[in-house]
């Protein structure tokens, strides 16, 4: 088991090195993209700033707290984007073009191989912005950084990340039945935008969807609100872990069923 892990990490390293090299080759293009992304984030923050220039708090949340939630939301999204970006290709082209066959002729888990092949370097920008935003308000928000809380913070991020991964796996796996599911993945993924803001601002229907059905609320608002208020750890943190595990379990099930049902596209 450990040996397999080591081999898999070695594989992953080669792909990471390759993608980093590619980034260096297209430096200007990469930098322009990075600057554009940064600019986009600046504009988003400007939006928040303008709002808060007129109101003291948004449904009880201060400017710094909203920034904290926003920055927090970028972390799991970025990590998933960094490692698992290749999953999009399953729904967009790999299955439809019959390119999935080769994954089945190798003695390694196809899901793992698909994920490991691409390392999306520009996601690092997202990650940095998220960390920077959190760092910028860390002194101004009332978070009690006990040892427990620090551990919980470090723990909850990977679980939140897995919610993104799980959702992508499920929607991508649909392609095994329908040949293409890229658009479905796109729409479901777009729901994560709701999670940037406090879930409490939405109506009941949306709240239910983003909490229990496509649980993106657990990638940002709920865990972040625990750190900000110290309230409801069982719901805010506990359920994040539970939802994350549930989604991953469902995703692996759906994926495996999909592979079994896979009838590769013509020759």
């Amino acid at each position: 088991m450990l040996k397999t892990l080591r081999r898999m990490l070695k594989m992953h390293r080669i792909f990471i090195a390759q993608d980093l090299k590619k980034m260096m080759e297209y430096k200007i293009d990469f930098l322009t993209g990075a600057i554009s992304f940064l600019l986009g984030q600046v504009f988003n923050i400007a939006f928040l700033w303008i709002i808060f220039s007129q109101i003291p708090a948004l449904q009880g949340w201060s400017y710094d707290e909203i920034i904290f939630i926003y920055g927090f939301s970028l972390l799991p999204k970025a990590i998933d984007h960094l490692f698992c970006d290749n999953l999009w290709m399953i729904g967009y082209s790999i299955v439809a073009k019959g390119e999935f066959d080769k994954y089945l002729t190798r003695p390694v888990n196809p899901l793992f191989t698909v994920i490991v092949e691409k390392f999306q370097v520009d996601a690092l920008g997202e990650l940095i912005v998220g960390v920077a935003l959190i760092a910028s308000v860390i002194g101004k928000v009332s978070i009690h950084w006990s040892v427990l809380n620090v551990i919980l913070f470090l723990l909850v991020i990977p679980f939140a990340t897995l919610i993104y991964t799980g959702v992508k796996i499920i929607t991508s796996a649909i392609a095994f039945w329908t040949k293409r599911s890229g658009q479905i993945t796109h729409v479901v993924y777009a729901v994560n935008d709701f999670a940037k803001y406090p879930t409490t601002i939405y109506n009941e229907f949306i709240k239910t969807v983003i909490t229990y059905i496509i649980p993106f609320s657990f990638t940002a608002f709920y865990p972040a609100s625990y750190f900000l208020t110290g309230e409801n750890p069982l719901f805010n943190i506990g359920l994040t872990v539970v939802m994350s595990m549930a989604i991953m379990a469902v995703s692996v099930l759906v994926w495996n069923k999909g592979v079994a049902a896979y009838e590769s596209a013509g020759s």
């Binding site: 293009d29 990469f30 007129q54």
Partner: protein
Amino acid sequence: MSKFLKMYTPFTRAGIQMSMAYRFNFFCFLLGEIFKCFIMFFVWQAVFASSDSETFMGFSMVDMTVYLFITFLAGYLTYSEGTYAVGEEIRDGSIAMRMIKPVSFDMTFLFQELGNKIMVTLVVLVPICVGVELYKYFVTGSFMFNLLTFTMFLFSVVIAYLISFYFNVCYGFMAFFLKNLWGANILKEVIVDFLSGATIPLAFMPQLMRDILTFMPFSSLSYTPVMIYMGMYSIEKSLGLIALQLFWLAAFWLLSKAIWRAAVKRLAVQGG
């Protein structure tokens, strides 16, 4: 005139057919974009709920909602893929073929996009406008639809699309100088998005920004038509801004022709 139309309407037909063929993709994308609208709606609802006043920098909640959805609509109507089209043709060299054919490059592409815009009008404009007017009626109790304002809006938004088209074509010519257009494209989208008022109404921005922006064409892309729709301008001001739009349209149109002519000369000298 009819010969002109005969030559180019097949492209529009092709555009409509393509839109029909990709309708699933179209709806999925539309759905994703509508999410963003609703997110903003709820955010603004929360903002107004957290505020003592009925207005935010001069906008009421109703105003804000109308602004959001009409901006969304304007975005769909003014979106143009001119940059990609031109960029691709330059990259794979097929732009040389365009030089030989007797059809005008931008016209063929424009008419093709018009096909798509027809679909957008039916599927997006009608529901959104109806929805917005119904919303206004239910919230304020009065039916506030003004035919003149709406007509001016339509006129303004068409010009806005044409500006967007020629602006995008000009930007696409950057492919002559850049290896990869990916980063530059994102930069353009982010900046244009912001400066055309898609995220924040331009009226909310600090005075300095607003002064700078009056000299830039971006407000003509989205902000002007939207504000006209909302009846925020007097008729004189509306017509004046439409004239400004026409000015920018002419500017980008001329610019695209100039770049094209220079490119043709360069290609003819250097070869494909």
